[in-house]
Each structure stands twice: as structure tokens, then as C-alpha cells.
């Protein structure tokens, strides 16, 4: 499992994370939500080892501050909000970068592309794709990196995703959510930063709600997503309702048009 305890971080003199404790289980999809500037991506960066922090973060029992990069790369893959590439790589060449430490596994690259619905894009130049297509190519790359959600030894793999659907249309948003659900169902763990509360309510087993670098609440979306809590976090009136299929959905309550 992923276990973060009393994680704090500062940028210069400013505290950007205050004493956050959070855990995520393999087999589940966990999401981090909160308004812009709440520290969602910062907290994700701490968990992926890109940010110095105080407190402790362990992944599958390994302290990530002590673990070797190559060992971490075997059990977790990270998707950034966007990944501009230097040099004109083709799509298949980009996906194979995820297999850089798995010699002889190049065939996985094509399966990963098929998983994100980009079969036939192998020979296209990455730089010529749309932002959404680039994001899916990078998703294929990180899926290839941790292709098996659960290793032979029973050790789960993890996906850390920073706003994986931000540049996608609704069809592909749902596709990506299906992919992460399949990954979790097969025994892997998923931690993702999300903006869209409704998509999060539909897709996540657990949410962590952040505001100003502090954890406001965490747990099942139906318990975390409450009118008062969300309205406080986002500083606007939000109204939580239930769809017939029991997912929470959140309607913004704006002033009626005059």
C-alpha cells in the first residue's frame, strides 16, 4: 500500500503542504481533489519523489526517500500533466521509453497503444499529435512501464497520474477512467489528481480533499463530497445530489441569469 504520514513541504519560506496523512490501497482507485493551488500536484510530487518533504512516505513498505530510482521505476509509473518531447520521436519510440529497463519486452508497446485506443499511430510523429493524443501516448508509455498490475511475487504496481483527463474529450475521459479501473481491478494501485468532481465521484474508491495545503477530509466520495465541505473547500455554493445509480454528482449553484 501507499502510506504517507505527516507530510509537510515548503517552497522557500512558504508552507505548501501541512502535515498531510493519507493512505491508498492496491486494488482501489484513489483521487486527490481540491481547488487550484490547494497542493494536489505538489502532494503527488512528494509521493513520486520529485519534492523534498518532511514526514514519511512508503510505497509497498519501501521508504521512497531511500529507494533506488530503478527499484521505484519497477513498481510505479508517473504521468505528468503534459510531457513535451525534445526531438522528433515517433509514437512507438515514445511508448518504448517506458520499457527502457525491460529489455526484450518491446512487444508490450503495441499492446499498450491498443489499450489507449491508438493502434495505427505507431509511425506518427509525437510532436504532430494533438494535446489529447499526446497525453494518451504518454499514458500508453507508463502502462507499458508497469504492464502487470500485480507481479508474480504478489507485489502491486502503482500508477500516479496528474490530471490524466485534463486535455481529453468526454469519451476519452471515460476511456481513461476505464483503464485505471481495470488496472486497479487486476490488483494494482492508482493515485490520481483530479479536477472534475463528478468524474471523480464516478471513478474513485477513495478521495482526499485538500485546501491550502491541508487535508480537509478523506474517504469514500459519498462521505467526503458533502455540500458544506465542498462549498467551504472551493469557496462557492455547491450542491451534492445522487444519480439514480447512487453516484454523487455536484451541481454548481450560480446566480440565475437575469
Amino acid at each position: 500500500m501507499l502510506d504517507a504520514r505527516n507530510v509537510s513541504a515548503r517552497q522557500g519560506r512558504k508552507h505548501i503542504l501541512h502535515d498531510i496523512s493519507f493512505s491508498a490501497q492496491p486494488g482501489q482507485v484513489s483521487a486527490i481533489v481540491g481547488p487550484s493551488g490547494a497542493g494536489k500536484s505538489t502532494f503527488l510530487k512528494a509521493m513520486t519523489g520529485d519534492l523534498a518533504y518532511s514526514g514519511s512516505i512508503t510505497l509497498n513498505g519501501q521508504d521512497i526517500a531511500q529507494a533506488r530510482l530503478a527499484d521505484l521505476a519497477r513498481i510505479r509509473a508517473v504521468l505528468s500533466q503534459s510531457t513535451p518531447m525534445a526531438f522528433p520521436f515517433t509514437v512507438i519510440e515514445v511508448v518504448r521509453l517506458g520499457l527502457i529497463n525491460s529489455p526484450g519486452q518491446d512487444h508490450i508497446a503495441q499492446s499498450a497503444l491498443a489499450r489507449v485506443g491508438l493502434t495505427g499511430f505507431e509511425g506518427r510523429f509525437y510532436q504532430e499529435l494533438s494535446g489529447g493524443e499526446q497525453q494518451r501516448v504518454q499514458l500508453a508509455r507508463i502502462l507499458a512501464q508497469v504492464w502487470r498490475p500485480l507481479g508474480d511475487d504478489g507485489v502491486p504496481s502503482w500508477l500516479f497520474l496528474d490530471e490524466p483527463v485534463s486535455s481529453l474529450d468526454i469519451g476519452h475521459q471515460l476511456q481513461v477512467m476505464r483503464i485505471v479501473r481495470d488496472f486497479a481491478s487486476a490488483g494494482g494501485g492508482v493515485v490520481m489528481v483530479m479536477h472534475d468532481l463528478n468524474l471523480t465521484a464516478m471513478s474513485a474508491d477513495k478521495v482526499l480533499l485538500l485546501k491550502d495545503g491541508r487535508a480537509i477530509d478523506q474517504g469514500n466520495p459519498s462521505t467526503v463530497f458533502r455540500n458544506d465541505q465542498l462549498s467551504h473547500a472551493y469557496e462557492c455554493d455547491l450542491f451534492v445530489n445522487r444519480t439514480p445509480s447512487t453516484y454523487a454528482f455536484i451541481l454548481p449553484q450560480s446566480a440565475a441569469p437575469s
Binding site: 510531457t83 513535451p84 527502457i100 529489455p103 506518427r124 512501464q145
Partner: protein, 351 residues
Amino acid sequence: MFSMDRPIAGDRSRSALRLTCALVVLLVLTCIAGLAVGAAGTSLWSALGDLTAGRELSLRDKVVLWEIRAPRVLMGVLVGASLAVSGAVLQGLFRNPLADPGIVGVSAGASLGAVAAIVLGASLPFATVLGTWLVPVAAFLGAWCATLLLYRIATRAGRTSVATMLLAGIALTALAMALTGLLVYMADDAQLRDFTFWNMGTLAGATWSKISVAALLILLPLSAAPFLASGLNGLALGEAAASHIGIPVQRLKFGAILIVAAATGAAVAVSGGIGFVGIVVPHLLRLASGPDHRFLLPNAALLGASLLLMADLLSRMIIAPAELPIGIITAILGGPFFLFILLRQRGIVDL
């Protein structure tokens, strides 16, 4: 790694390997041309004919072929390969096709080191220990300092600003040239003579003794470079993403800077300033077979060597029997090429 079944679209590894074979042939041909062409009337073919017939070569032919042309060709191969490979590694490090040791100040740093060694040489405590190695080692140190400084300035939080890189390169070059000028001003007549010969930037002064020093300094970084190849591929994703796929980014950067400094330093120490090879060669190869450094680095060494030999042939032929400094030829051909890349990339460069 390279399966024999039908190639996948977008997988350019096979065409890159075919290119390697073609480049080997090209290098052999240019080497032969380098041995065959020269101001003296010596013919490689009649010399070979004499040798196969068991006849002794004339002293003149022996000197021309063995003491003048052969070391010159070998020096051209070494310098061309090291310039092209250091260009490719520097571009991989900065994640930008416009990084060239000559443009971003690395060569100027090497020059400063070399000139400091020539002028201050006698007064340096370890000068006698290093002997003929003094100038190349000083050039390496100069190039190393320049590359480190440039990286510190141009790269923030793992991202290189191209504008900052090019502008910092201008400033570093100006600073290094000013300090070089100061040293030249201090130099006595004998040192000035040494400096002038070194500064001409040609392959003309190649001798076997010079090569023995340069070969080691150049072959070490060239044989180390392929070990960086897959790391540099990963670095194309950016520093953070590269470390996420398990690449030890700090070690990779340190190694790349060391290799660039050693290869550029040695090339500058033996041949003065020869520009643009490091930018033209990797760019042509990326167009031909993609940016995968596992193929780009060896192919750059081969094409760099061939191109420099061709430029050297031109420099010997244009105003024969006199010759132009080779640096002029590479700058005349490479300068417009650099501008062409800059203009084509204007959107990406984002100045």
C-alpha cells in the same frame, strides 16, 4: 532487441543500422581520398602498385604518405568524430538540437584552457609532470568549467531555456575570449608563436606524436558515450519523467558533461576551433533515422569523421597548393545550416 520479423511502423532501428553500414563505407572512401589527394604529386595508387610489386617506396613518397597524409587523415577522423559526438551528447543533455560546443561557449572555454597552458605553462607547478599532455588537459578543464557553468545558468528545475542557453553561450564565449586576449597580451614572443600555430585551427600540423596524445583523450569519451545512449533517450521526456522511468539523471548529466568536455577539449587542443560539425551532423542523422541515441551516437561519429575529412579535402583543393584553414570551410557551410534550423524551429525555440 532487434527482432527479425516485419518491422513495426515508426520503428526506425533497422534503417538506422543500414545507415551505419553506409556510413562505414563512406568513411573508408573519404579516408582513401584523404590519402590520395594532396599538394605533393605523390600518387597513392602508384605507391600501392610499388608496394604490391615488392619495390621500395621512394623516401619522398614515404614521407608524404606516412608522415603527412596518414596522420592528417587519422586526426581528421578523431576530431570529426569527437566534435559530432560531443554535439549529439550536448544536444541530448540540453534537450535541444541547437546546442553545439562551438556556439554555447564550450569550445571557447577549451581555448581559454589551452591558451592558459601555452602562456602560463612554464610557471604552473604540474607542467613538467604533464609534458605534452598539458595543453589538452587544460583544454579539457576549460571545456568542463564552461559546460558546468552553462548548465547551471540555462537549466532551472530540469528544464532548459533555449534563449538563456544561447545568450549565456554568447556571454561565456565573450568572457573566455576576453580572458584569452588578456593572456595573449601577456605572452612573450615564443609563446605567441606557439599560440598562433595552435590557433590556426587546421589539421595540417598533425603528427604521430600529437595523435598519440589526442587519440587517448578522444577515444576515452567516444567509447564511453554509447553507455549514455538510452539515458539520453529517456532524458528527452524531461528530467522528472526520466527519473520516473529509472534513469539516474544526476549521474547521467555528470557523465554527459564530462564526455562533452573531454571530447571537445581534446579536439580543440589538437585542431583549434572547428565549428558547426557538432550541429550539422546530428541534425542530418535525426532527419534520416530518428533521434534514438543508441544509433545516433555511433552514426554521428562516423558521419562527423567523414564530413571533416571532406571539409579538409576542400580546404586543400580550393586554393592549392596553399590551403585554407578548415574552420573557415566548416563555418561557411555550417553557419547557414544553423540559421536554417533556427528559422524552421522558431515556434519550438520560443525565444
